[in-house]
Amino acid sequence: MSIFSGRKVKIGAGIIGALIVLGGLLWYYQQQGFIKIFPTAEERAMKKILEIDRSKFRPAEGLDPQVFEGEIKKLEEQKAKVLSDPGNAQLWFDFGYTKEFLNDHEGAILAWEKSFALQPFNFVTAQNLGNTYQYFIKDWAKAEFYYRKVLELRPDHPQAYQGLIDLYRYNWPGRKSEVEPLLLEAIKNDPKNKLPYYITLVEFFADAGNVEKAKSYLAEVRALDESKVPDLLETYPILK
C-alpha cells in the first residue's frame, strides 16, 4: 500500500466520522427543540394520512367532472389547513369527509380515526367510521367497535342501532342471535324510537318464521300505534 492510498483512507474515515458527529449534533438539537430536520414517527403517520392519491378516487354516479375536480382541489386545501393546525379534529374530519365523498374509503377512515383520536367524544365521527367499515370495507368487527363507541357516547343514538341491526341481521354471519338483545337495548336507551324498533323486531322474527315472537312484538306495536299493524299483517300474513 502506498503512502497516498493510506492517506486517502484516513481522509475518508475522517469525513465519515465528521458526518456522524454532525448527524448526532443535529439529532440532539432537534430533540432539544432548537432545530427541525428529521420527521418524527407522528409526522410520518400524518403524512401517510394526508396523502392524496388520485388513483383511489372515484366519482359518484352522475357527478359533474368539474365538481369532482373541485372536490380534489378542496382536498388539497383541507390538507393545507390540517398541516397548519394538526390538532384540530374538525379539520381532520373535513379532510376525511371529502375523501369519503371521493370514494377513498380507506383514506377517509385514516382521517376520521385521527379526528376521533383527537376528539373521542364526537360520536358523529364514530358513526361515520362504523358505516364505512360496514358498508364499504366490510370489516364487521371494526364496524361493531365504532357503533358501540357511538352508543357509549350516546346510548340513544338511533343511527348506531340501525347500523348494528344491519350488521347483525344481514352482514355478519352467525350474529343473528344478537339482533333481539340489541333492539331491546335500543328500546330501553332510545325510547322515543321504540316504535320502529318494535316494528323491526316483528319483521325480523316474521322473516325467520318465528311467529310466536313476531306476534308478541306485534302486540307492542299495536299498543304504540295501531295504524302500523295492518301494513305489517299484509306483509306478513303468518301473523294474522
Partner: protein, 1292 residues
C-alpha cells in the same frame, strides 16, 4: 427330474417367496424344522430351495408350482407351506402343477376367471356382477402363458368349474361335470375359500348334475374332536404324537375344525410311535470359515463386562445352504477359565446370541455349542466369540477366545482351526455401570379371559433402571414365552413399546421373540418403562407367560466404555444371577374362547308390515368377539296377537334368517308348534363374523292366513344360549351365548297397503302471468304412514279444467309444497283441453303413466307438485285448475298404487278437490309503500353520513320483478318554520337492500331535484310474495360552515315521486310490470349544525312544599348548542296553583363554566294560565350567572335541568299530585325568519316555548342571542312536533 423354471420363478414368484419368507419367520416354521423321515402327507405344500412343491394327491410324487398366480389359482395360502424334507425331495418330480379352478384375476385391465386350464375374460362389469361376483375378490396377477378360453358374456349360463355358488342356504362347488354340495364350513374352508367368494346360483347352475357332497381337499389338516388328521378325499391319517405332527413342520393354527368320521382311517404317520429321530438336514454347500479382517484389536475388557467381544469370525456359504451343527470355543492366552462367567457366540446379523444359555469352559478350556446356524447359499455371516467376564477375574490376564472346531449338517467345511483373534487384557480397577431390570409399571394382572381377537394387549412389562455410575444404552432384548401358547401361531404383531411409543417389531424364533432397535440411552439413575404387546389370534385354553430367560438376554452397555453390562434382576418374579431359570417373569394370561352376544336390533324398528311374501319380522344383533362363530342351529320363537297357534302356524310361512349382505343363512322354514309354543327350528350352518352384525328375520304372511289389521308379530330368541348352537371357528370350542335372558326383536304390526292422498294448501288461488315458466299448478301429499308395506305409484291422472294453453305439465317429487325438487318425474304432458269451456267446472284428464314409478316407504309421506309453463297466447282473466278427484278406494283412478311387497292394489283414500283457481294475468304488479319502520321527520346534523331518509317496502305479485329505473326526488320538506331545502344539501345518495348497498356503491350524485338511477336486469329483484323487500334511501348530508353548502334549518324530503318514478319488468312474463305507488315520498328532515336532544325523567322525590316537579336532560348533538327558553305546563290533581317556579342546572360538566346548582333564570312567582287547572311557567335563560345571554351546552354534553315550584298543602289527605310537561312547539305558525331568528324573536306560548340555537354563526355573549340562528322546539328530539311532551307526575 423336472425342475421348475427357476428364473421365471424368481421373477414371478419373488413376491410369493418374500411373503413366504416373512411368514416363515413369523410363523415359527424354523422351529418346527422338518424332521420326519416320511414324506409329507398327500396334498401338502413344501418348500425347498425357493421352490414350492405340491405333494401329489396320491402321495406318490410332487408337482412344482412355477408362478405365484398358479399358487393363488388353487386358493393356497403361504401359511400352509412347510419345509420339504429329504423324503419329499426323493419323491418323483411329476411336472408342473396344473392351474386351479374358479379364481378371479385382473390382468391388463380385464378380469378373468381361470378354469379348466384356461383364462376366461368377462365381457363387461355388468356381466361380472351379474354372475354374483365381487370385485373385492379379484387378484391382480400376470396370467402370461395361460391359454385364452371362451369369454364369459352371460349371466344366465352356468358358472365355471371351481366356482362356489349358493342357493337356498346351500353352497355348491361347480365341478367339470356338475355340482357338489358343501356340507359344512370346514370342508368349504379346506378349499381355501371364504364366503366372499360365493356367488348366487342361477338356474343353469341348479340344472347341473347333483354329484353329491364334496369332501375335504386332499392335504387338509382337520381337527376332529381334538385329533388332528391329514386327509385326502377318501381317507385320513393321524399323528400319534405332537412331535410327530410338528416334526413335519405343521403348526396348530393350520387345521380346520370338522368331522372326518366318514373317511377311511389309514395308518398313522410316524408309525414307529416314536418321536422320530430327525435325519440330518442336508447342507449342500461349502462353508468357508476365517477370521474376519475387522476382528477386535487387542484391548482391555472389564470385570463384570458382558458379551465382551474377542474374536470375529466370517462364515461364507457357497454352492448351497449350509447348516452349522456344532461349535467348539477354546479359551487361550495367559488367563484362567474362571475369569469368564460364561461365553457366547453372537450372531452379528441380529446381535443376538445363537446359544440359548451361556456356556462355561470345561477342564480342557473348551465350551461346546450345539445350536444350529444356517448360512444361505451365497451369503456371508459374521459371528462374535464373546466373553462374559467374571465379577472377580484375574487382573492383567490376557485371554484369547478361539474357534477350535465346528461341524456341519452336511456339505463341506473349509477352515484352518483354530481361528482366534487378539488377546484382551483384563482390567479389574475400572468399575462399569449397572442396570436393574424388574417388572414394569404396565404389568397387567393375571387373566383367564384374554379373548381370541384381542389386540395390542400388554403381556409383558419391564423397566430398566440405570445405575448411578454412568448412562446405560439399551438396544436388544430376547423375551421367552414360558406359557403353552405358540408365539408364532397364537400371537401376532408382537411389538416392543416404551411408554406406549413403538420401538421395534419382534422376530419370533421358537419360544423366543427378539427385539433389536436403535439404542435407547437411559441416563444414570433414571428408569425407563417398556411393554411387549401382541394380538391374540388363536390358542384358546393356552397360556401366555412371557419372561427373560437369562441375565444377558437384556443387552445393555455402559456408555463410558461401551462395555456390556450384566443386568441385575430384582422385584416380583425375579431370580438374579443364574442361567438356568427364568430371571424375570410377568403374570400368566390364559387365552379364552371368543364370545357371542345377542341383542335386539333397531335396524328393523317397530313398524307396519303387510300380508305378503318377504315381510321383515324383526332383527337381532349378533356381536362376536375373538373369533368367528359357526352357528349350526337356531330356534326362533314367534308370538302373535292372532288367536291360537294354529292360525299363525298356517299364516306365517317360510321364515328365514338374512345376514347383513342380504343372503339367507338359515331357512326358509315354516313355523311349527310344540307345547303351545310357536317356533322356527333352523338347522342350517352359517358363520357369524367378528364384530357387530344385524340379522333380519323375514317370512311370508299368507294372504289366506286370516290376518287382520293391527295383528302383531314378535320374534324372539328364548335365551340365546338355549336357542343358538355355535362354536368358535378358530378354537372349535362351544360357546355360551349371552345374555341369559330372552331377547325379542321389535314387534311388527300387520297393516293393509294404504295410501292417503291430500291436496296441499299451496298453491292457493292465485294469478299467474303470461310467459311464466315452471309455475306451480298443484301439489299433493301422498301418505303411506299407515301402510303395511311400501307403496308404488304407477300412474297419476290429473283432472284439468283449462283452456289447454298451458304446456309442459311436469310432476315433481319435492321436499315440501313448492319446495326443493327431489326428482323430476317423467313423462311431461301437454295440457288437455276442456274443449273451449274455459271454466273450472269443465274437465279433461291428463294422465301421467310414470316411467319410473314413485315408491313411498311405508311409514312415510311425500309431496308431489305439478308444474307447467304459461305461454304468451294466454288471455288475461282465463282460469285454470288442476286436481285429483276420484274418491274410489279399491281402484282409485286418480292415483294408481300397489303394495311393493305384495303387488296388490293399494287402498287409496282421496278427498276430491279440483285444485286452486289459477287466473291468468298479463304481467306482475310492483307495489310501493313506505315501510312501517321508515323514519319520521326529525332533526339531522350536517356532515352526517349514512342517514336513512326513506324506507320503502316493495312487493311483487304474480311474479318476481326486476326494477330497472328509479327516479329519486329531493324536495323541500314542506315543514313550517323551516328554510326551504333542496338537493344541494345532499352530498351523495346510496340505496340499501337488506343491509347491503345495491346499485352503484360509489353512490349517486345529485345534480338536480330529480335523479334517475338505472339498473341492469337482475341487479335489483323483488321476489314474488307478500313480504317483498325493504329498500332504504341513504344520504350523506353536506357540511355547514364557511364555503360549505349547508344551510341552517333547511328541510328536505327524499323519496320516490310516484309511479312515474319507477320502471320494472316481470321476470316470468318478461313484460313491463304494473306499478302501484301507495307511498314512498319519505319524511322531511331538518338540517342543523348541531341539534338538541331532550330526555325527560320523573323526579325521584315526593311532592312537598318546594320540590322538583320535572327533570329534563338536554344534550348537544353534533356540536355546541345554545338554550334560551324552557317552558313548562303544570297541572295538579286538585287544581291547586303553584308559586315561585324556577329552573336549576343540576349537572352539566360542559356548560361554558356555569357551575352545577346555578339557577338558570329568574323565579316566576305565579304561572300563566294555560288551560283550566294548568299553568305555564316560562323561563328565559339569560341571567348573568350564565356568562352569556343563553345557556351554552358543549358538544356531546348534557345539561340536567330541574324545575322547582312551591305549593301549600291545604289538605290533610296527602293525596295531591302534580303533572308537569316540558312544552315544545308545533310551528303551525312561523313568525320568525325561516333560516333562524333572534332568540328574543320567539315568545312563549306562541311557538316559542323551547328556544335553542345551533350557534352556526355566532356563539358570543354579546351578539350570539341576537344573531338569526335561533329556532323553536319543532321536531326537537324528545319533544317532537307537539306542544306538550310526555308529562311526569310527582305525588305526595
Amino acid at each position: 427330474m423336472h425342475k421348475p423354471n427357476r428364473s421365471f420363478a424368481k421373477k414371478v414368484f419373488a413376491a410369493g417367496l418374500a411373503v413366504s419368507t416373512a411368514l416363515w419367520a413369523s410363523a415359527g416354521l424354523f422351529v418346527f424344522v422338518a424332521q420326519a423321515v416320511e414324506a409329507h402327507p398327500a396334498g401338502t405344500l413344501v418348500l425347498s430351495g425357493g421352490t414350492v412343491w405340491h405333494v401329489s394327491d396320491d402321495g406318490t410324487g410332487r408337482h412344482g408350482i412355477d408362478s405365484l398366480a398358479k399358487f393363488q389359482s388353487h386358493r393356497y395360502d403361504f401359511a400352509d407351506v412347510v419345509s420339504a424334507n429329504s423324503a419329499d425331495l426323493a419323491l418323483p418330480d411329476l411336472g408342473l402343477l396344473s392351474w386351479g379352478n374358479g379364481v378371479l384375476f385382473l390382468e391388463g385391465g380385464t378380469v378373468y376367471q381361470v378354469s379348466g386350464g384356461m383364462k376366461h375374460g368377462f365381457t363387461s362389469a355388468s356381466v361380472f356382477t351379474g354372475n354374483g361376483f365381487d370385485f373385492a375378490t379379484v387378484i391382480g396377477a400376470s396370467l402370461a402363458g395361460v391359454p385364452v378360453g371362451a369369454n364369459i358374456d352371460s349371466t344366465s349360463a352356468a358358472h365355471l368349474e371351481g366356482t362356489f355358488v349358493v342357493s337356498g342356504g346351500t353352497i355348491w362347488m361347480i365341478t367339470a361335470t356338475g355340482r357338489k354340495g358343501i356340507p359344512s364350513p370346514d370342508i368349504f374352508y379346506s378349499y381355501g375359500a371364504g364366503f366372499g367368494h360365493v356367488a348366487a346360483a342361477n338356474a343353469a347352475d341348479l340344472s347341473l348334475t347333483n354329484e353329491g357332497n364334496a369332501t375335504f381337499r386332499t392335504g387338509a389338516l382337520v381337527n376332529d374332536g381334538g385329533t388332528i388328521w391329514a386327509v385326502t378325499a377318501t381317507s385320513r391319517r393321524g399323528f400319534p404324537t405332537g412331535s410327530c405332527y410338528t416334526g413335519f413342520g405343521f403348526n396348530f393354527s393350520m387345521p380346520v375344525v370338522g368331522s372326518t368320521s366318514s373317511l377311511t382311517t389309514g395308518a398313522n404317520y410316524c408309525v414307529d410311535g416314536d418321536d422320530v429321530i430327525p435325519p440330518p438336514p442336508t447342507s449342500t454347500g461349502t462353508l468357508s470359515v476365517s477370521l474376519a479382517s475387522d476382528t477386535p484389536a487387542a484391548g482391555i475388557v472389564l470385570k463384570s463386562q458382558a458379551r465382551a467381544p474377542f474374536t470375529k469370525v466370517q462364515l461364507t456359504a457357497t454352492g448351497g445352504d449350509v447348516v452349522v451343527d456344532t461349535w467348539v470355543m477354546e479359551r487361550k492366552g495367559v488367563a484362567a477359565d474362571s475369569s469368564f462367567a460364561s461365553v457366547d457366540i453372537v450372531d452379528l446379523t441380529t446381535n443376538a446370541t445363537i446359544n440359548e444359555s451361556g456356556k462355561t469352559f470345561s477342564t480342557d478350556h473348551t465350551a461346546n455349542f450345539t445350536e444350529d446356524l444356517t448360512i444361505p447359499s451365497g451369503q456371508t455371516k459374521y459371528v462374535m466369540l464373546a466373553g462374559n467376564i467374571a465379577a472377580s477375574p484375574g487382573a492383567g490376564e490376557q485371554p484369547i477366545l478361539a474357534l477350535k472346531s465346528m461341524t456341519l449338517k452336511g456339505g463341506s467345511l473349509v477352515a484352518s482351526f483354530p481361528i482366534q483373534g487378539n488377546a484382551m487384557t483384563i482390567n479389574t480397577t475400572i468399575t462399569i455401570g449397572s442396570a436393574t431390570v424388574q417388572r414394569g409399571a404396565y404389568t397387567n394382572s393375571s387373566s383367564t379371559t384374554i379373548e381370541v381377537g384381542k389386540t395390542a394387549y400388554t403381556f409383558f412389562s419391564f423397566q430398566i433402571q440405570a445405575g448411578s455410575v454412568e448412562d446405560v444404552g439399551f438396544s436388544q432384548i430376547k423375551v421367552y414365552q414360558s406359557g403353552t401358547a405358540s408365539l408364532s401361531a397364537d400371537l401376532a404383531n408382537i411389538k416392543l413399546y416404551r411408554d406406549g411409543t413403538f420401538l421395534a417389531d419382534g422376530v419370533v424364533s421358537g419360544n423366543y421373540v427378539n427385539f433389536s432397535f436403535a439404542e435407547q440411552l437411559i441416563p444414570k439413575g433414571q428408569t425407563f418403562q417398556y411393554q411387549v404387546k401382541a394380538d391374540v389370534v388363536s390358542g384358546s385354553d393356552r397360556t401366555v407367560k412371557l419372561a427373560i430367560w437369562r441375565v444377558n438376554d437384556v443387552y445393555v452397555v455402559g456408555k463410558t466404555y461401551n462395555a456390556g453390562i450384566t443386568p441385575t434382576y430384582s422385584g416380583t418374579s425375579s431370580a438374579n444371577g443364574t442361567n438356568t431359570t427364568l430371571v424375570l417373569t410377568d403374570n400368566q394370561f390364559t387365552i379364552s374362547v371368543g364370545t357371542f352376544r345377542v341383542g335386539s336390533s333397531n335396524s328393523v324398528p317397530a313398524q307396519n308390515i303387510s300380508v305378503g311374501t318377504n315381510q321383515t319380522l324383526g332383527a337381532f344383533e349378533f356381536e362376536v368377539k375373538g373369533e368367528p362363530m359357526i352357528v349350526s342351529a337356531v330356534t326362533l320363537t314367534v308370538a302373535s296377537s292372532t288367536t291360537g297357534a294354529t292360525i299363525i302356524e298356517d299364516a306365517l310361512q317360510a321364515v328365514s334368517l338374512v345376514d347383513p349382505n342380504g343372503n339367507i343363512v338359515a331357512g326358509p322354514t315354516d313355523v311349527s308348534t310344540g307345547s303351545g309354543t310357536m317356533t322356527v327350528p333352523w338347522t342350517d350352518t352359517f358363520t357369524v363374523p367378528i364384530g357387530l352384525n344385524h340379522y333380519k328375520v323375514v317370512g311370508n304372511l299368507a294372504t289366506d292366513g286370516g290376518w287382520t289389521s293391527n295383528n302383531t308379530i314378535t320374534v324372539s330368541l328364548q335365551t340365546p344360549a338355549s336357542a343358538i348352537t355355535s362354536k368358535g371357528e378358530v378354537t372349535g370350542l362351544s360357546v355360551t351365548e349371552t345374555p341369559a335372558s330372552n331377547t325379542s326383536a321389535n314387534t311388527q304390526t300387520v297393516k293393509a297397503s294404504t295410501l292417503t292422498v291430500t291436496k296441499n294448501s299451496t298453491p292457493t288461488a292465485k294469478t299467474i302471468v303470461a310467459n311464466a315458466t315452471n309455475v306451480l299448478l298443484g301439489s299433493w301429499q301422498m301418505d303411506a304412514t299407515n301402510s303395511g308395506e311400501d307403496i308404488r305409484i304407477t300412474s297419476i291422472a290429473v283432472r284439468a279444467s283449462t283452456t289447454g294453453k298451458l304446456n309442459t305439465l311436469t310432476l315433481k317429487k319435492v321436499s315440501s309444497p313448492g319446495g326443493t325438487v327431489l326428482t323430476t318425474l317423467s313423462p311431461v304432458n301437454d295440457n288437455p283441453s276442456d274443449n273451449g269451456a274455459n271454466s273450472n267446472d269443465a274437465a279433461a284428464t291428463s294422465t301421467f303413466a310414470l316411467s319410473d314409478p314413485i315408491v313411498i316407504t311405508k311409514g312415510t309421506a311425500i309431496h308431489i307438485d305439478l308444474y307447467g309453463n304459461v305461454p304468451s297466447n294466454v288471455n288475461a282473466g282465463e282460469v285454470d285448475s288442476y286436481g285429483l278427484t276420484d274418491t274410489a278406494t279399491a281402484s282409485n283412478a286418480s292415483v294408481v298404487a300397489y303394495g311393493v311387497s305384495t303387488g296388490n292394489r293399494a287402498t287409496v283414500t282421496l278427498t276430491a278437490n279440483d285444485g286452486a283457481a289459477l287466473t291468468i294475468a298479463a304481467a306482475g304488479t310492483l307495489t310501493v309503500d313506505e315501510d312501517a319502520s321508515s323514519p319520521n321527520s326529525r332533526l339531522v346534523t350536517f356532515g352526517s353520513n349514512g342517514v336513512e331518509v326513506s324506507t320503502l317496502r316493495l312487493k311483487a305479485t304474480n311474479e318476481s320483478i326486476d326494477i330497472t329505473v328509479l327516479n329519486i326526488h329531493v324536495d323541500d320538506g314542506g315543514l313550517t318554520g323551516t328554510n326551504s331545502g333542496d338537493y344541494t344539501q345532499v352530498k351523495k345518495l346510496y340505496l340499501k337492500l337488506d343491509g347491503t348497498l345495491v346499485g352503484n356503491t360509489d353512490g349517486y350524485s345529485l345534480g338536480a331535484a330529480r335523479t334517475t338511477i338505472n339498473f341492469e336486469r337482475g341487479a335489483l329483484t323483488i321476489p314474488e310474495g307478500v313480504t317483498g323487500k325493504k329498500l332504504s334511501i341513504v344520504a350523506d348530508i353536506v357540511e355547514i360552515g364557511t364555503n360549505q353548502p349547508g344551510e341552517a334549518n333547511d328541510d328536505i324530503v327524499i323519496g320516490l315521486g310516484g309511479t312515474t318514478s319507477i320502471t320494472s319488468t316481470g321476470n316470468g312474463s318478461n313484460t313491463a310490470a304494473t306499478e302501484t305507488f301507495n307511498d314512498g315520498t319519505g319524511s322531511a328532515i331538518i338540517l342543523h349544525r348541531s341539534v338538541p336532544q331532550v330526555v325527560i325523567e320523573t323526579p325521584t322525590n315526593n311532592l312537598f312544599t318546594s320540590s322538583v316537579l320535572h327533570r329534563a336532560k338536554v344534550s348537544a348533538v353534533g356540536n355546541t348548542i345554545g338554550l334560551y327558553r324552557l317552558s313548562y305546563g303544570v297541572s295538579s290533581s286538585t287544581g291547586i296553583r303553584f308559586t315561585n317556579g324556577y329552573v336549576k342546572l343540576i349537572t352539566c360538566g360542559g356548560c361554558a363554566g356555569v357551575p352545577d346548582g346555578t339557577q338558570l333564570a329568574n323565579t316566576v312567582a305565579v304561572g300563566t294560565y294555560l288551560a283550566d287547572g294548568t299553568d305555564s311557567y316560562s323561563f328565559t335563560l339569560n341571567g348573568t350567572a350564565l356568562g352569556k345571554n343563553f345557556l351554552q351546552i358543549g358538544a356531546t354534553q348534557t345539561a340536567v335541568i330541574d324545575f322547582f315550584a312551591t305549593f301549600s298543602d291545604d289538605s290533610t289527605a296527602d293525596t295531591e299530585s302534580v303533572s308537569t310537561s316540558l312544552l315544545g312547539d308545533t310551528a303551525t305558525t312561523s313568525p320568525n325568519d325561516v333560516a333562524g331568528a333572534q332568540a328574543a324573536g320567539f315568545s312563549s306560548l306562541q311557538q316559542g316555548n323551547f328556544v335553542w340555537s345551533d350557534l352556526n354563526s355566532d356563539d358570543t355573549n354579546g351578539s350570539g342571542h341576537t344573531t338569526k340562528q335561533w329556532y323553536n322546539g319543532y321536531y326537537v328530539s324528545g319533544l317532537g312536533p307537539t306542544t306538550t311532551s310526555t308529562a311526569v307526575t310527582v305525588s305526595q
